[in-house]
């Protein structure tokens, strides 16, 4: 008797598997609609934010720039594109107020200490100088690795940096040559990663740019 009593309430509450599946499906469906709605609602703002961030970054790494054009490297030449967003085969050409070409903003990606670092740097073709560096995206350790964009001394080293040979990161205070960069104390790996990414991107793009000049 006792046994029956304890089992009974459970038995009556046992819903069929059809009902279980139905409730999951309905919940999933409603959730899907909400997610699509919020995605569509925020899509434009997110896209605008990204485009604005990129524009600001290009204007920051190239001095006196008033206008920019996106260039895409396709079939061995640089073509102007107007598409939104960007991919790895894209660089940005900066022009001053008179519409005169100043230089390129080149992007590069590579592994940092935690995750991929996405770097943008300005490059003057006339004197082969790097004019500035900006981190577009990174997940470096807050307080240490994130100094690659928060430490203005480090960022400042990339302003008017002659790019004749590969640049090198050295221990802070031991910089002796033009192509050397003082690494950040406590963020050596991140500093070296930035330098390596710039070297790699530069070596990838410099032949392409000179081809585009002809």
């Amino acid at each position: 008797m006792n046994n029956v009593l304890t089992q009974e309430p459970q038995k009556t509450e046992e819903p069929g598997s059809r009902r279980l599946i139905a409730s999951m499906a309905i919940a999933g469906f409603i959730s899907g609609i909400i997610i699509i709605a919020i995605y569509l609602l925020t899509f434009d703002t997110i896209k605008e934010n990204k485009a604005r961030e990129l524009r600001e970054a290009v204007f920051k790494v190239l001095p006196d720039v008033a206008d920019m054009k996106k260039l895409h490297f396709t079939e061995n030449k640089l073509v102007v594109v107007n598409a939104d967003g960007m991919d790895d085969e894209m660089i940005f050409a900066g022009y001053d107020k008179q519409g005169k070409f100043i230089g390129y903003a080149i992007q590069g990606k590579g592994p940092g200490f935690q995750d991929t670092i996405h770097v943008l740097f300005g490059f003057l073709v006339s004197n082969s100088n790097i004019t500035g560096m900006e981190i577009l995206d990174s997940r470096e350790t807050p307080g240490l690795g994130d100094k690659i964009f928060k430490d203005m001394d480090f960022v400042g080293e990339f302003i008017n940096l002659p790019m004749m040979t590969d640049i090198k990161a050295v221990k802070k205070g031991t910089k002796s040559k033009d192509n050397e960069i003082d690494a950040i104390t406590g963020a050596t790996i991140s500093s070296k990663a930035v330098v390596k990414i710039i070297n790699k991107a530069f070596n990838k793009w410099s032949p392409r740019i000179s081809k585009g000049q002809q």
């Binding site: 509450e13 819903p15 009902r19 279980l20 409730s23 999951m24 919940a27 999933g28 409603i30 959730s31 909400i34 997610i35 919020i38 995605y39 609602l41 925020t42 703002t45 997110i46 934010n49 961030e53 995206d137 997940r139 350790t141 807050p142 307080g143 240490l144 406590g186």
Partner: protein, 217 residues
């Protein structure tokens, strides 16, 4: 009137007596991961607040239609929907902060405090109590995150909400913003919290004993 008092109590208990972090020690992953600055902690707290209150409301409203066998999956669907909403909203409105919190926003889904409240409270109580409970718990979580974030930012960076506090001569305790600093701070805060609770209990015991003596005499 009597119900109002208990509803209020449901809310207040999460702030202190049953604080999800200091007493229940739940939600440790976001707790340790995003509290390296006060602003990150606050934004994480607000995001969790929204998700917890929203899902408690829904779970409590639909508790009659949620079959027991698939309840956990349904809670997760509800929580995950709210988290996605928060994720996109932050990305659109506060892109800079979203960049910092990045990976931890989707992880709110796996915050055991949120799922725990659905299972332990919202699925068994009426909407009003469930929401009050969620507000209290999320508030308590936010207070705890903020306490941890503030301590770690002040000691580890020498700043508070990005405002420099001690000038150039202060050498930041870098360890405080790294993971070990999170554990250290959390341990010390737990110690402090338990010490206060213990002291309060002793005090109440003493008062009770004194009252008994005076009643007897």
């Amino acid at each position: 009137m009597a119900t109002d008092i208990t509803a209020y109590e449901e809310m207040i208990k999460g702030l202190w007596r049953d604080n999800p972090v200091f007493v229940q020690v739940l939600g440790m992953c976001p707790m340790l991961a995003v509290t390296n600055s006060a602003i990150n902690a606050v934004v994480m707290g607000v995001a969790t607040f929204f998700v917890l209150v929203g899902s408690s409301f829904l779970v409590s409203s639909f508790k009659k239609w949620i079959p027991r066998q698939v309840r956990i999956s349904l809670y997760i669907i509800i929580i995950a929907t709210f988290v996605t909403v928060v994720d996109y909203t932050l990305l659109a409105l506060l892109p800079a902060i979203h960049k910092e919190l990045g990976a931890f926003i989707p992880l709110i889904v796996a915050n055991c405090m949120i799922l725990g409240r659905q299972e332990a409270f919202a699925s068994k109580h009426s909407v009003k109590y469930a929401v009050m409970d969620a507000v209290g718990m999320a508030g308590g979580f936010m207070i705890a995150l903020f306490a941890l974030g503030a301590v770690r930012e002040i000691l580890g960076v020498g700043a508070f909400f990005g405002i420099d506090l001690f000038g150039a001569n202060f050498e930041p305790w870098v360890i405080m913003i790294l993971p070990p600093g999170g554990f250290l701070t959390l341990g010390l805060l737990l110690l402090f919290f338990n010490w206060i609770t213990e002291r309060r209990k002793q005090f109440l015991d003493k008062v009770a004993a004194a009252e008994r003596v005076s009643a007897n005499g």
